[in-house]
């Protein structure tokens, strides 16, 4: 198993443990644990199997099982995204494998990148979201829990499969998708009326950074992508879990804690998102400096949306307050000293 994916599985397991321990009292913990563990096993299987074909088949099975969980969206709506992802990546793999002119491998790269976006639930294939849907059945399960492992595995396997020219095209497509998701997610998390949708778009914006990191074919880009994924799984996801009761009660507060949470969500120093952004800008500067300007401008879009999301957390109390403090502390620790994370992933 690839070290990066193994690390993300461990991080996802930690996020699951957090969700179970610090979930609001009204949440069904047992169901969360069972469904989350099944998802974790599926994610581990995607990473552990030796070929991309087997990863796709595991993804298909996992997607079908996830679609069968009781929720407010229809089975068809929930099955579509993983099936489309498998179809696009499957077509991409076929086009790359056949002996043909280079242009066909580039079409294959398009299929691979589009399939990865569809599987996670990013533009141009955003999964529909219902505010009242349980966390386990909602698109956030793909965006923040299964998606990071899936993306790390698929990007790595796609890069190993693609010839040099098509590999460069693949990187370019990922960067393009990343900037699109970053801009759309940043603006939409600020402008949308619904708080749950705002949280979803904030995940999408973070994914934009991760895709840019994957697309920048230098070590700093990959490091930035890993740190962004870490911040999604161990930062944004637990904070979203903690904010769900307040969102349901439409409870909004403007205390110092909300400002600190907003800073963590916006990726400001000393949180882990800041280190990821610095690495991303450094990688972009190494490859093509105008891209760094575009990314830096895009990063400003996090501010208004994060302030809004920080307020939506309201004022957590008791066990949940401890959970939020723990999340912030872990994010600060990873932001100040990210080396162990990067070394564990051999980056």
């Amino acid at each position: 198993m690839q070290p990066e994916a193994a690390e993300l599985i461990v991080v996802a397991a930690a996020a699951l443990a957090f969700a179970v321990v610090f979930a609001p009292p009204s949440s069904p913990r047992r169901a969360l644990l069972v469904k989350g563990s099944a998802g974790l096993v599926g994610a581990a299987a995607i990473a552990a199997v030796p070929t991309i074909d087997l990863s796709l088949l595991v993804l298909l099975a996992l997607g079908a099982l996830h679609a069968a969980i009781a929720g407010t969206r229809s089975f068809a709506v929930r099955l579509r995204a993983p099936v489309v992802a498998v179809a696009l990546i499957g077509l991409g793999v076929v086009l790359v494998r056949v002996a043909a002119p280079d242009v066909l491998a580039r079409f294959g790269a398009v299929g691979l990148a589009a399939g990865i976006a569809a599987g996670i639930g990013l533009l141009p294939y955003l999964h529909p979201i219902e505010p009242d849907e349980p966390l386990t059945a909602s698109p956030v399960a793909w965006l923040a829990f299964l998606g990071p492992v899936f993306a790390a595995v698929m990007v790595s396997r796609a890069q190993a499969l693609l010839p040099v020219d098509a590999g460069a095209a693949f990187g370019g497509i990922l960067i393009g998708l990343g900037i699109l998701n970053m801009a759309w997610g940043g603006i939409a998390s600020w402008a949308t009326e619904n708080e749950v949708a705002a949280w979803r778009y904030s995940f999408v914006a973070d994914w934009g950074l991760a895709l840019c990191g994957f697309g920048l074919t230098v070590a700093d880009g990959r490091r930035a992508a890993l740190l962004v994924l870490f911040s999604i799984v161990i930062g944004r996801l637990p904070l979203y879990v903690a904010s769900r009761p307040a969102i349901r009660e439409k409870n909004v507060t403007r205390r110092p804690l909300n400002l600190v949470v907003a800073a963590a969500l916006a990726g400001s120093a000393p949180f882990v998102g800041f280190g990821a952004r610095i690495l991303l800008l450094r990688a972009a500067t190494q490859l093509f400096w105008p891209l760094a300007l575009v990314l830096a401008a895009g990063m400003l879009l996090w501010l208004p949306g994060s302030l809004r999301l920080g307020r939506s957390l309201a004022m957590p109390r008791g066990r949940q307050a401890f959970g939020v403090a723990l999340v912030l502390a872990v994010n600060v620790a990873a932001g100040l000293y990210p080396l162990p994370l990067l070394m564990a992933a051999r980056l």
Binding site: D53, A61, V77, L79, A87, V98, E130
Partner: protein, 180 residues
């Protein structure tokens, strides 16, 4: 020549799945695709691969025969776009598999691309659970068969996994919508 016939069966079966809404049509389509794919797997990777595809597809077809909308319901009113899709997809897949790509194995390339493309399109165009699960089963078989195009076409795990996923996925319960 046998491989060309098998590819034609794959196209015919997938077209039947795309153009049918009834359980008999879907089951017959699945069975025909399975037959075509099993022949192609036999030729590229041997008897074990072919058996895995045949068993997985056979279970999926049998399950579909037992559940879903009654009857054949082939080409229901308003299904002209589906027919056009089947023909256009076949032409495109044939051009890529035999015209743009080179080397042996054109029927295998054609079948894998066609079945993946049409199964994906079927999922996008339908909201009916039995139809979706049938398309997902075909997709699993095609992804498994696609391993025949890899550098090591003798590896059997993708075929076994593809057959397994196809056989299991059709048993998922057609429920899941719950009031908030």
């Amino acid at each position: 020549m046998i491989a060309v016939g098998a590819a034609a069966l794959a196209w015919l079966g997938t077209s039947l799945v795309v153009s049918s809404d009834g359980r008999r049509g879907l089951a017959a389509g699945t069975a025909i695709v399975t037959l075509g794919m099993a022949i192609l797997a036999l030729e590229s990777s041997g008897i074990v691969a072919a058996s895995a595809i045949a068993i997985g597809g056979g279970v999926a077809a049998a399950r579909r025969l037992a559940s879903g909308a009654v009857g054949w319901d082939i080409l229901p009113p308003g299904s002209t776009p589906r027919l056009v899709l089947c023909i256009a997809a076949a032409i495109l897949a044939f051009w890529v598999a035999a015209g743009v790509a080179s080397g042996p194995g054109a029927p295998l390339r054609f079948s894998v691309m066609l079945v993946i493309g049409l199964a994906g399109a079927r999922v996008l165009a339908s909201g009916d659970t039995p139809v979706l699960l049938t398309a997902a089963a075909l997709l699993a078989l095609a992804v498994g068969l696609g391993a025949g195009l890899s550098l090591d076409p003798t590896t059997l795990w993708p075929y076994v996994a593809g057959g397994l996923v196809a056989a299991v996925v059709v048993w998922l319960p057609p429920r899941s919508v719950r009031a908030a």
